[in-house]
Amino acid sequence: MIHTYSANLVHEHFMSGKLSAQEIVTSYFDRIKRYEPKVDAFLSLSFDRAVAKAKALDEKRAAKQPLGKLAGIPVAIKDNINVQGEISTCSSKILENYKAPFSATAVNLIEAEDAIIIGKTNCDEFAMGSSTEHSAYKRTKNPWNLACTPGGSSGGSAAAVAARFCPVSLGSDTGGSVRQPGALCGIAAFKPTYGRISRYGLVAYGSSLDQIGPFGTCVEDIALMMEVMGRHCPKDSTSVPKGPDEYMHSIKQPIKGMKIGVPWQFLQALRADAMKNFQEAMKTLESLGCQLVEVDLSLLKYSLPTYYILATAEASTNLARYDGIRYGLRSQQAKTLDEVYDFTREEGFGAEVKRRILLGTFVLSSGYKDAYYKQAQKVRALIIQQYEKAFSTCDIIATPVTPNPCFELGSIQDPLQMYLEDIYTIGLNLAGLPGMSVPSGFTQDNKPLGLQLIGPQLGDVLVTKAAYNFQQTAAFHNAIPDIKE
């Protein structure tokens, strides 16, 4: 039964003495043992680490020592977030045996609050992708439909929570990589305001877009994780210089009178069942006393090309460090320095990563930089302005998370079609806005759908509050997938 609990409830039962940390860990690992072969959410499991931490927590509790806000809660970590002493492959061959020498700030914060880290999850290589199929190691399956992908790039972390291998997990979101798999796996998933959670220890893809975000079965669990992780970090220069926000009380206040902006024009191409689901979600919000207003986000039609120029430009330099010199893979065939570079990167990177490095190198090249990189920066500024204008007439904005529900493994081969999966999520990264993906129902063939609630910068609590209120009325998050053994 433990697996049906929220993170808040697991913590409550541990604190009250109803459950020991070791019971909690054993229970989740039993479930992992049973269903992980079907789901393939993890790249590595840290059983010994988790048991040692659980023992220590049980002893602390017995000795009546103070316990952290996350005491007893098992957490899975996306493989591009460093956990000291654990292998961080980023799902890439080039970092196959790379043991992280330091922990990400987010990991340090949750461990300091006594969370129990249980393993590292599969993702698209260096977080580049929308299906987790670009992992060099394995294909993660969607717990709702094992023929389908969980989405990506944080597909492992989303599938792990959906399969109840752990109540919460961490992912990273550069263009939708938390919100999209969250929606496709029927769980809550949050991308905070850019800079709200430190990027220190998150392996960089697109530095100006990357943001760590939590997954949970319910919005309260997201709120709990945000109270711990959402704070200033001196090791990340782009970290918001602001202490943690209070969530747990604030999000439970009613949202009556809240103005919800909807970019109806931008949603015209949405398929019928998804549109119907979105309209129902809007009715739910209206029933909670919210007022719908139309907002203009027409510039978002340029968000994909803008993103694929800026993200790849940054990525082409961020990934330059994987050169076979200091750590990670070094080609055995290489005899000269140039061959160390060429062969190592040829052998170590997958096709999608190579495609994005090439694209990013091209858009920064002399003679092309003005037409691509600089132009994209200008469009980014315009998109930010358009969001600001929209927020002058509403409190939050609502859109679907994805144009489609989860799709079959291997069904999307064209990279451009795959990029379109992020059409509703990518604009937030360009503007640094917070966005919650919250379950909004199912298609006829029982595939989860998600609602995206978007706030202005630093409107993290506001968005979480709206999502919590929505979830209390439209409680799709309670459904647990029935994984066929």
Binding site: F102, S237, T238, T317, D323, I325, K369
Partner: protein, 493 residues
Amino acid sequence: MNTKIHHGDWEPIIGLEIHAELNTKSKLFSSDANRFGAEPNTNISEVSTAQPGSLPVLNKEAVKKAVQFGLSIGAHINLVSQFDRKSYFYPDNPRNFQITQYETPIIIGGSVVAVVDGQEKEFQITRAHIEDDSGMLKHFTNFAGVDYNRAGVPLIEIVSEPCMHTPKDASAYAMAIKAILEYIDASDCNMEEGSLRFDVNVSVRKKGETGFRNKIEIKNMNSFSNLELAISHEIFRQIKAYEENPNVDPKEVITQATHRWDPDKGETVLMRKKEYADDYRYFPEPDLLPLVLSQSYVDDIRKTLPELPLQKEKRYVESLGLAVHQAFFLASDKKLADYFEACLETCSNAKLLTNWLIVEFPGRLKEKNLSLYQTAILPEHVAELVNLIDKGDIHGKIAKCVADEMVAAPGTTASSIVAKNPDYQPLNDKSAIEPLVDTVLAENQDSVDSVLSGRDRAFAYLVGQVMKATKGTASPQVVNELLKEKIAKIAAK
């Protein structure tokens, strides 16, 4: 002495890029120590080895030192500047991009004044920016290793206008920059350790020609004399090439390239041709916010700037009466200027002292390749020596002997050297000198006649003879007086 080099109707154009490592406690973007000479790969961190997930955080001390430098050269301080990524692959470059300031550097403009051949000249600076240093490649017999201790050490790169025309201009400019960096304690400026490095761009053109011809960049000069030699060599090489190919397009005669100075061969050696401009794919560093400074921050730094070399030089000229070139020489070397001022605490003859500091002692220490302040000869020792001379207790030749002994046994005081050697005792007693004067006059009747017929040189000869007879211990003043008296008497006869 005329040290000007003549280039006929050719005009050399020289510009300098100076890289100075800032002497901050920690590196530019991380907390690992900024220290030279440690065991390889001991001053490193996840940031300076570019571990996945590491992020840069700007060192405020480095920014402060850069602003101090900018204000010291009278530059404009950009209140908003920005860091950029400069991409190139090399093993000593851990991220395979350098973090530098390309589009908006922190320092724009400014100038320095240096003395060349006794003349003050002003040299303009284009810009200066903050960036991080690379590691160092070490080659062994069958492999190479990289030491990342230097990776991430803060640098400022100071780019001059192409405003210099002789090798001496370039070295004087570089000395002036070095002096400023030392005065504000921004850099150790140790050329042997590589904390001050020069890249120089050299081209030549016909006098009166507008526009520049192709330039050659020269790297790897780690002393002022090498800098001058390399430039000098390169100027003549280019002039010769143009003169030997009068009918060839100048662009073909000298093609843009990077050379390296080989001090053993005494020539510049081609490193690589620059057929295409390098494409470093600069773009703004997304891991760092723009560097925003407040006017009050800049003003506060301006208020606390120490006396700068040019101010010191002017003070030496105006209040101590030194010649401009002497004042520049002293002021250009912070440690020497400090030494000079320490001497002045117990010595009032600044002009005489200056001669000993910039001519006599450096001459004696040249072989050991040491500066006076690097020896155990203390400022009070030199001050005492000058005072002995000033009081007439010892005279020229003996003073030089005393100085020789001070250099031979550093730490010995001038007075103790004089006290121990009977030959160094001053002979000021007229009655003791008089018989020697008589003897010299008697033995040199010809010279006496010459003096009588108005030849001063003969008088100096006679002085010399008396000094010789006293082994240099007599006061030249007393000898002069006695000789004059006696010759006057002879004349009166």
